[in-house]
Assembly symmetry: C2
Homo-oligomer: 352 residues x 2
């Protein structure tokens, strides 16, 4: 299709001509302002509809001082953690007719600075900053519009960050492993440099201690965020003499957990009969393809996005934004990788 | 941080006061227009910088008739096919200082219509429509701004759609299987209702015919887009008597291919020694975790996004947009799942 020239877009003047009124009257009629006879107002509305006239939102924004636009600055290359987050952000903003201007800073501070300038030039009402990890990132500094950090945290305490509660999520996983009768629990993490790896190990340690158990250092395996690492970790665990083997494993990601499940099966250890495995992320691609499907901690990223965006909208409307880090709870999703058949039979019996 | 009031944003008046000139002079100085003494211009520039003044892009847009904003309407819930596409779209647009307003229509025509109205109200310069599949979708109709469909196709022939060449991608896969010495080739597809499943089967058939071979109907397995289906298909293929088994499999997705590779291994068939497997998508999560890593067809979605956005930019600048469907070539990425050791040794020998 050849581009229609912009002359084809109907203007206030076109509406005025068709309705037989002045352009000023069109404006009053469509904004619901001023003293007009009802029949004039409806004649103008009919003319506007007839021509497919759309009031110019730019002109409106200049008057109201709001653009009903929020910038979203991500460093996640539109990755899989951003997706559910973005869905939640859009749910909140869309309900208030606020559009999102998306910028991918790609973790490069020069790109980010460029985008922040661009967003401010475009007079966004606020900015959401997000990224793939929960680790702290440098603050964008004090800007003339409110800023909320989500998933990723700002290193500056005067900023508001909203992320999920990693410790509480870990507690859900460990309580579940204990509830299904596991007593010797191991932890398989990603790289040591990531906050998630360290927080989940510490929380595992604390939760076991609270139950009168210990997380032995030989049962802590730190590596990568990959299935291959999960398989390698399973092989290490399977190589131990039977009496020294873990009977429950908490993995810091679903990719690792899937690798652990595959590695255990290939080493002849039955999951969940002999060993229960719990992951983290609730990433369908991993949980569903795993044999058996994975029990996992869901960080509820979509809710996180919704909540962060609603905080930003409140601030745009003039309410206090708050500061520091808000932690939202995770949820446990139980599937087949963690519940031994014996436990299930006992549960069925107690229900019957 | 409490929200700074909008009064904190410096205006043209503030700059004028600090520089000791009129607001009109500030405007001329910062737009590089009008007759001004160089020292006046630099005094205004220094004052603007000092105050952190940003010219109001809304006011500029009202004058130029362009908003330097493009709407992206997706039906992919920010899924994994949208992500590389978006990266490419942003590469093209960002280089021209055009921002993207992202809308997730979620495949719901009422949501979509709402967003299109919203985008037109916001005076976007153009719209990109995308989705997760190559199947045709209803046209948005003739809009006052140019529209490009990418990945997904418009059902209307007057629209411009840009997608990848499924037939050519399939030909790459089949030529490769033939080149490594395979002569009995099977095809494992997703659901019949998806264009990709049908196109890749037909192209497999044609490519084999051109090589003097046949795609037997018993070697065509149609199912789902999942690893579980790939494993089931592998079990079916492995159950055949040895003389009737395929020695090469082209799978319509990497998820299927990974399942086929796992299923073959578990049935005692060595990949790639006995059977070569090729996937489609080049999705790292699947290709890297697979044992062995997957040879696959890369639809080059990022390039697709870049190309579609550059076509849209051309149309925004007044050039003819064109119509119909443009197909961009796929690329073959060779990894270990397809090249039998014997072939590799022969190649090494011929190089030596």
């Amino acid at each position: 299709m050849a581009r229609s020239s912009s002359a084809a877009v109907p203007t206030v003047r076109d509406v005025a001509r068709l309705a037989g009124v002045s352009p000023g009257t069109v404006s009053k009629a469509l904004n619901g302002q001023g003293q007009l006879r009802p029949e004039t107002r409806s004649r103008v509305q009919a003319a506007a509809e007839n021509l497919g006239f759309r009031p110019n939102q730019l002109a409106r924004s200049l008057l109201s001082g709001r653009t009903y636009t929020v910038g979203v600055l991500t460093s996640d290359h539109f990755g899989r953690f951003s997706m559910p987050l973005m869905e939640g952000i859009e749910d909140s903003l869309g309900a208030c007719h606020v559009s999102t201007l998306l910028c991918d800073g790609r973790g490069d501070s020069i790109r980010e600075q460029h985008y922040v300038t661009e967003l401010l030039n475009r007079r966004v009402d606020g900015i959401v900053v997000t990224g793939r990890r929960t680790d702290a990132r440098p603050s964008l500094g004090r800007l003339p519009v409110p800023v909320v950090y989500v998933l990723i945290r700002s290193a500056a305490s005067h900023d508001l960050s909203v992320t999920y509660d990693d410790r509480q999520g870990t507690e859900l996983a460990i309580s579940h492993l204990l509830a299904v009768g596991r007593t010797h629990i191991g932890y398989v993490g990603g790289p040591e440099r990531h906050l998630a790896t360290r927080t989940r190990r510490e929380a595992t340690d604390d939760a076991l201690r609270a139950a009168g158990l210990t997380l032995r250092s030989t049962d802590v395996l730190i590596g990568e965020w990959s299935e291959a690492w999960g398989r390698a970790a399973a092989a290490l665990m399977a190589n131990r003499p039977r009496g020294q083997r873990v009977d429950g494993v908490f993995c810091a990601s679903d990719q690792i957990a899937r690798g652990v499940v595959d590695g255990m099966r290939e080493a002849g250890i039955a999951v969940p009969e002999e060993t229960s495995v719990v992951g983290f992320d609730n990433w369908d691609v991993m949980t569903e393809a795993s044999r058996p499907p994975l029990t996992t901690v869901d960080p509820c990223l979509s809710k996180l996005g919704q909540f962060a965006a609603s905080q930003l909208l409140n601030a745009i409307e003039g309410r206090e934004l708050g500061s520091g880090t808000l932690l939202l709870p995770c949820e446990l999703v139980v599937r087949d990788s963690s519940v031994p058949v014996l436990t299930r039979q006992a549960e069925a019996a107690s229900v019957a």
